[in-house]
């Protein structure tokens, strides 16, 4: 029988199981021990494992990231949690200048097994500084691994993999994913990095979707059925390393690639996925596939609901972009509305 739990519960379960398995794993972050418990992802952990292994921190992202790195140098395995990815910018010096480079610039003498959890926000007017998705910033830097699972199954497995990995890992969640439900085995298991997941098979167009745009793209794929377009939807799960084999295999089949990134497009994950795809086809002397991308509008995220809705891709706009790739300029008006979890979201933030 399928065991159905939420994405947030999957994260909590992965953390608790790894902490029970390995006494060097600990959790730090603002609010990890409060009543919100990062929306349940850290609920009950302090009671179970004590204050040394689960603790609230001062509002000092820079130093606390350094503390996590220092503890990792000493052989511990910290999980540093951030309630919003925007705050991660305050930790970027330690992550980019030390965590990413220590292994290399110290000639292999040390390793930094640290997990940096962060959450992309959306909806209810969270606005400019509670909505940023900065995964491409970290994909840019050698020495970092970047994962952004979209299903509860992958959330649990990828977090376990992140904790067991001997390198710094950016583990990226999305606030709209936390309540989503799915099959999650009770036993601990690791989802290896660098293996994309084909979530829906199709032959007309490949949609590579990132983070929250995975469920949105699956909805888009259902809309496309009305136009008799069969979309293949793939979640890379890990953005760095990136599983180009699975992506290229799919694009060879469909001849069309749409990347739906839950982020801005310029210098983004979409740019990277598309470039590598073209490089592959060119290198193999194959005709270059038809290509498009969709993501945040190139502006700061506004809080006002009508503007916010225009800012983000949604199942309808994703479906339209895919339709255009397949059918060209022919007009098509898909049905489709703003997804329920966005329309109904009232917090907690």
């Amino acid at each position: 029988m399928e065991r159905i739990i939420t994405y947030a519960e999957a994260i909590r379960e992965a953390t608790a199981q790894e902490m029970a398995r390995d006494s060097s794993v600990f959790v730090l972050g603002m609010g990890v021990d409060d009543h919100v418990a990062m929306w349940g992802t850290t609920a009950g952990l302090q009671k179970k494992f004590g204050r040394m292994r689960v603790f609230d921190t001062p509002l000092s992202e820079d130093a606390m990231t350094g503390v996590a790195i220092g503890s990792a140098l000493a052989g511990l395995r910290p999980i540093h949690a951030h309630i919003r990815m925007d705050f991660l910018l305050l930790a970027t010096n330690q992550i980019v200048n030390i965590a990413a480079k220590a292994r290399y610039m110290y000639g292999g003498a040390v390793k930094i097994p640290a997990v940096f959890r962060s959450v992309i926000g959306r909806s209810w007017g969270q606005g400019a500084q509670h909505s940023q998705a900065l995964h491409s910033l970290f994909m840019h830097v050698p020495g970092l691994k970047v994962v952004a699972p979209s299903t509860p199954y992958d959330a649990k497995g990828a977090l376990i993999q992140s904790i067991r990995d001997d390198n710094p890992v950016l583990f990226i969640e999305h606030r709209m994913l936390h309540a989503m439900r799915g099959h999650v085995p009770a036993r601990p298991y690791a989802v290896p990095f660098g293996r994309a997941r084909v979530l829906r098979k199709g032959s007309d167009v490949t949609i590579i979707a990132v983070s929250y745009l995975v469920p949105e793209s699956l909805r888009a794929a259902r809309l496309l059925e009305d136009a008799r377009i069969r979309a293949e939807v793939i979640d890379p799960v890990s953005l760095s390393p990136l599983d180009m084999r699975t992506i290229v295999r799919s694009v060879k089949k469909t001849g069309r690639l749409l990347v739906a990134d839950n982020a801005w497009l310029t210098c983004g994950a979409a740019s990277e996925i598309i470039t590598r795809t073209i490089e592959h086809f060119q290198g193999a002397r194959l005709p270059v596939p038809k290509i498009a991308r969709i993501g945040f509008q190139p502006v700061t995220c506004p809080p006002s609901r009508p503007l916010e809705n225009l800012f983000y891709p949604n199942p309808r706009t994703i479906a339209l972009a895919a339709h255009q790739l397949v059918r060209g300029k022919r007009r098509w008006t898909p049905r489709g509305e703003i997804s329920r979890e966005i329309a109904e979201f009232r917090g907690p933030f």
Binding site: T57, A63, M64, G66, G70, L73, L76, N93, N97, N167
Partner: protein, 316 residues
């Protein structure tokens, strides 16, 4: 002071001074292709602190850490080879002078970004508490420039809050690159700021290696006896050479040779050397010179890293 301590201090001081003088001598040949930030004049702080530590203690430093690395027992041959960019270097030629490490000696890394290693020392100290390691401390070295960084304040606060076994050593040489502390701080009161975070803090004037050794020894004893959380020392010292590079810079206009004079007169190497019999001093010096010559010879004849090394150790 017992004479074996004087011998130990003198050997370490003299060795560091001579290593750096040799680096400065070789530098114009372009065999060392790495920016060097020499500690000449500041050796007393690193040596005074590190002689008060145990082998299992760890230190974290800045880009000016030749002295710290050597004082804590870092491998000299590997350091020189690293400056030469050779495969036999401490980081196989992938770190350079600013990223020295010797894990076996407890030198846990140095960084070019001012202030970045401070919280790592604190985090390492957290791990010591986490594992209930009783007879160990972590030591963070930074300059008066590092104090300007926000991370310094954040790190002080957290170390004090959790009563961590960490000793903070501020090497106040008055300058952040070429900017005097006067231009950056309204009051010269670094030690008072540390005290405000809730830890014992003391300012030690005049590069005084014996006082530094004494105070750090006592602070370490209190910390490992769990009678104290972190401790802080502001050690007043002076950089004799330019910020980066092998030369002096007293004609550059930002400081005068007159400012240097009292520090040269008060050179800790001369001071500790005078505590030794001339014969014993000469013996130490001869041994050190042999060791240095051999380290430079090894660096010279070591191979550069192979091309494939470019791609190793990106990930563990």
């Amino acid at each position: 002071m017992n004479s074996s301590l004087a011998v130990t201090l003198y050997r370490s001081l003299y060795r560091i001074r001579r290593v750096e003088e040799e680096i400065a001598r070789v530098y114009p040949s372009d065999k060392i292709q790495s920016p060097v930030h020499l500690s000449i004049g500041q050796e007393g702080v690193s040596v005074g602190v590190c002689e008060a530590l145990k082998r299992d203690d760890v230190v974290f430093g800045t880009y000016r850490s030749h002295a710290l690395y050597l004082a804590k027992g870092g491998n000299l041959k590997k350091m020189i080879a690293e400056l030469y960019g050779k495969a036999t270097g401490a980081a196989h030629g992938k770190g350079g002078s600013m990223h020295l490490i010797d894990v076996r000696a407890g030198v846990m890394g140095t960084s070019a970004i001012v202030g970045t290693t401070i919280p790592q020392a604190v985090g390492y100290a957290y791990a010591m508490r986490y594992r209930r390691e009783r007879n160990r401390v972590a030591v963070s070295f930074f300059g008066d420039g590092g104090v300007d960084e926000g991370v310094w304040h954040e790190s002080m606060n957290f170390a004090a809050l959790k009563k961590l076994p960490v000793i903070f050593i501020c090497e106040n040489n008055f300058y952040a690159i070429n900017s005097h502390e006067r231009a950056r701080h309204l009051h010269s009161n670094i030690v008072e700021r540390a005290r405000a975070y809730g830890m014992p803090a003391e300012r030690i004037e005049g590069n005084d290696i014996l006082k530094i050794f004494d105070r750090v020894s006592k602070a370490r004893a209190r910390i490992v006896a769990k009678k104290s959380g972190p401790a802080f020392f502001e050690c007043m010292t002076y950089r004799w050479r330019e910020h980066v590079g092998p030369d002096e810079d007293y004609d550059a206009g930002y400081r005068s040779r007159r400012e240097l004079a009292p520090w040269v007169k008060n050179d800790q190497i001369l001071r500790v050397g005078q505590l030794l019999a001339p014969a014993s001093r000469a013996k130490i010096e001869r041994a050190v010179e042999r060791e240095i010559a051999s380290a430079f010879r090894l660096a010279e004849k070591s191979p550069f890293p192979k091309a494939r090394e470019l791609y190793t150790d990106v990930f563990a």
